[in-house]
């Protein structure tokens, strides 16, 4: 059981900064997802935790102890590789026993533990098969089992589902989640797939361009994105962001999107909006939270996508685009028509157009 603390962690490769000033504490037993597009620095972070890379700056602490100088073999970290790195020239049993043998565990003990883990992971029927040619979900279980058998206090998983097709991914996600329940270690999970992160993680750290943007529970991240990147990255489709400017009418601030109309700023954000001096602002709302309305914004309906339970309406007007996701029982607007809609107060978010940062709301 370990707590992982990253302090001002940085990594540069020559002129290229892969990671800068990463500060993150992962609690003991927590399932933390590092989420971001490729090249965001998440794998770099993970590899530094495992010890495959040496940080250029900062510290990595396991339970308060700096492990930067501890070689990776001694960190007690379990690691599941993107393609599992199963020793395909060995049998399932040899794979499971590999770490124990390396540590010089007595043979009897190894047999016992391997048997126990195999049963736990439902691998006991195939212990003596060669690992080459096993199916992906078995390989995944084997990869986890191979690390878990050493009872590492920290478990790192590097995009373990990226090689799996979509249909299977759902099955694997739940399997992984339940396995985490079994082992109950601190887990760091690297992914570029927000769905994986949202469904499995206790908390998500969203990263981009070597920077940590936001850390929070899946719901926090979804509901209160710290900036426009997170807002657009999380959700499928991501949040609609439109450029507008403040208009004040009788002490109440609203946002006018030029040519489209005006949306009211919810009361929680009124204060922040008033504090902001510059008139330009970005207004955001999730496509799921769009409703047809008499007033609000009017946009041109590009085309209408019906996908089972939902209908996605693609909207466009004078260079701005937006999407609306309607339940399938709602009547969607006709393609080619103009459609007026608004979003509820709870759905509205405001972002500073220069920094991209969200304006913080206040309870009124």
């Amino acid at each position: 059981m370990s707590e992982i603390a990253l302090e001002n962690l940085g990594k540069t490769f020559g002129d290229f900064t892969a990671l800068a000033e990463m500060n993150l504490t992962i609690a003991n037993g927590e399932f933390m997802a590092l989420l971001g597009p490729s090249g965001c620095g998440k794998s770099t972070t993970m590899n530094m935790i495992a010890g495959m890379l040496r940080p250029s700056s900062g510290a990595i602490r396991f339970n308060g102890r700096d492990v930067v100088d501890v070689p990776m073999a001694k960190r007690g970290v379990g690691f599941v590789f993107q393609n599992y790195a199963i020793f395909t020239h060995m049998s399932v049993r040899e794979n499971l026993a590999y770490g124990l043998r390396a540590q010089g565990t007595p043979a009897a003990e190894i047999n016992k533990r391997v048997q126990a883990f195999a049963e736990l992971l439902q691998l006991d029927t195939m212990l003596d098969r060669r690992a080459a040619g096993l199916s992906v979900n078995i390989l995944q279980r084997l990869a986890i089992g191979r690390s878990a058998i050493l009872e590492p206090s920290i478990f790192l998983l590097d995009e373990p589902l990226s090689n799996v097709d979509a249909a299977f991914r759902a099955v694997m996600r739940s399997e992984l989640k339940s396995l985490q329940g079994e082992f109950d270690q601190t887990m760091v999970y690297v992914t570029h797939d927000q769905l994986e992160a949202m469904t499995m993680a206790d908390r998500i750290a969203v990263m981009d361009h070597g920077k940590l943007l936001q850390v929070g529970t899946p719901l926090d991240i979804y509901n209160a994105p710290a900036d426009t990147f997170v807002a657009k990255f999380i959700g499928a489709p991501g949040m609609n962001i439109l450029n507008g400017r403040f208009v004040e009418n009788a002490g109440v601030v609203a946002v006018e999107v030029p040519g489209l109309g005006t949306l009211d700023v919810p009361p929680t954000l009124q204060a922040a909006a008033k504090d902001k001096k510059a008139p330009n602002i970005q207004i955001g709302f999730r496509p799921e939270q769009v409703n047809a309305s008499q007033s609000g914004l009017t946009m041109h309906v590009g085309f209408v996508e019906r996908i089972g339970a939902r209908t996605i309406v693609h909207l466009e007007h004078s260079g701005s685009t937006a999407k609306a996701v309607l339940p399938s029982d709602a009547t969607p607007p006709l393609a080619g028509s103009d459609w007026t809609f608004s979003a509820s107060d709870e759905a509205i978010r405001l972002f500073d157009p220069t920094s991209g940062q969200a304006l913080k709301g206040r309870a009124h």
């Binding site: 495959m52 040496r54 070689p71 395909t88």
Partner: protein, 286 residues
């Protein structure tokens, strides 16, 4: 990966040690090539490691200029043998690569020629010396003795196995999707092979060709038996570099050796990055 200082020291010590030892014969050759005759001797007392009076005479000599020290006049200069080596090694490489590449493709994609792998292994395994009698008789019958094509042909045949194995490896590794896409667009298989596959295989062709070229370029035995005058290659010609005046013309031999090392080295540098990949013989395909 983290490295320890002692390991680095160990690494450099071992590598530099081996490099130093492996360079001795090469350096000896280079040094010989620039030594005047008085310094050639490898006989004891006045062994010369490095030319005390470096000279280009050895190079001038093999290209037909009498030099002050080597009063021996050459009947044949090195020009023709160098040309013969270049031509026959190149044509031999072309023959091996053409036949080997197309056969490798035929087997890899269409499953034709299943007997070839074994036949070609046996061909390579068999000492050429043991078949030279019938080969000499055949070549003579066909008028191919001391003929550039005759030598190229036998080179093409004896190196065919390497061309075939290497190219088969690459074809087996090459994703089919691209070819399939072209097929769907209505290209014929032949067109696909010539227009799509081969251009994609350019690096593979280059590294295989280098390897085959080096094998042909190195040959001594076959050229010794199948040439007489016009197409004697560098190694065969080298044997004639001795004289009653001075004994073996080691300096001249070394100079020719230095020249002979140039083509493979240039080609090696040109395709250095493919060379390693090219030599895996497909053994690493998962």
């Amino acid at each position: 990966m983290q490295r320890s200082i002692p390991f680095e020291i160990f690494r450099y010590a071992v590598i530099l040690g081996i490099v130093a030892v492996s360079l001795v014969p090469t350096l000896w050759m280079i040094s010989m090539a620039f030594k005047p005759i008085a310094e050639w001797s490898a006989a004891g007392a006045d062994l010369t490691w490095w030319p005390r009076n470096p000279t280009l005479d050895n190079f001038r000599f093999i290209f037909g200029q009498s030099s002050t020290d080597l009063i021996v006049a050459l009947e044949r200069t090195a020009g023709r043998p160098i040309f013969a080596s270049l031509l026959t090694a190149t044509c031999g490489t072309l023959i091996a690569m053409t036949a080997g590449t197309s056969a490798a493709y035929g087997l890899s994609r269409f499953g034709q020629g299943g007997n070839l792998p074994l036949a070609l292994i046996q061909l390579r395994l068999f000492p050429p010396m043991a078949v030279m009698i019938p080969v000499m008789i055949m070549w003579s019958f066909l008028g191919l003795i001391d003929n550039w094509f005759g030598l190229s042909l036998i080179y093409g045949i004896v190196t065919l196995p390497f061309a075939f194995w290497l190219m088969k490896t690459f074809f087996d590794d090459m994703p089919r999707e691209i070819e399939d896409a072209a097929l769907v667009e209505g290209c014929t298989r032949w067109r696909v092979f010539v227009r799509i596959t081969l251009p994609m295989m350019r690096p593979a062709l280059a590294s295989s060709a280098l390897f085959v070229f080096i094998l042909n370029w190195s040959d001594y035995l076959i050229a010794l038996l199948l040439t007489t005058r016009d197409w004697a290659t560098i190694p065969v010609y080298m044997a004639s570099l001795s004289s009653s005046m001075t004994g073996q013309l080691y300096g001249a031999k070394a100079a020719l050796g230095v020249i002979a090392a140039v083509p493979p080295i240039i080609m090696g540098i040109a395709i250095q990055k493919h060379l390693v990949r090219g030599l895996t013989f497909g053994a690493l395909k998962e």
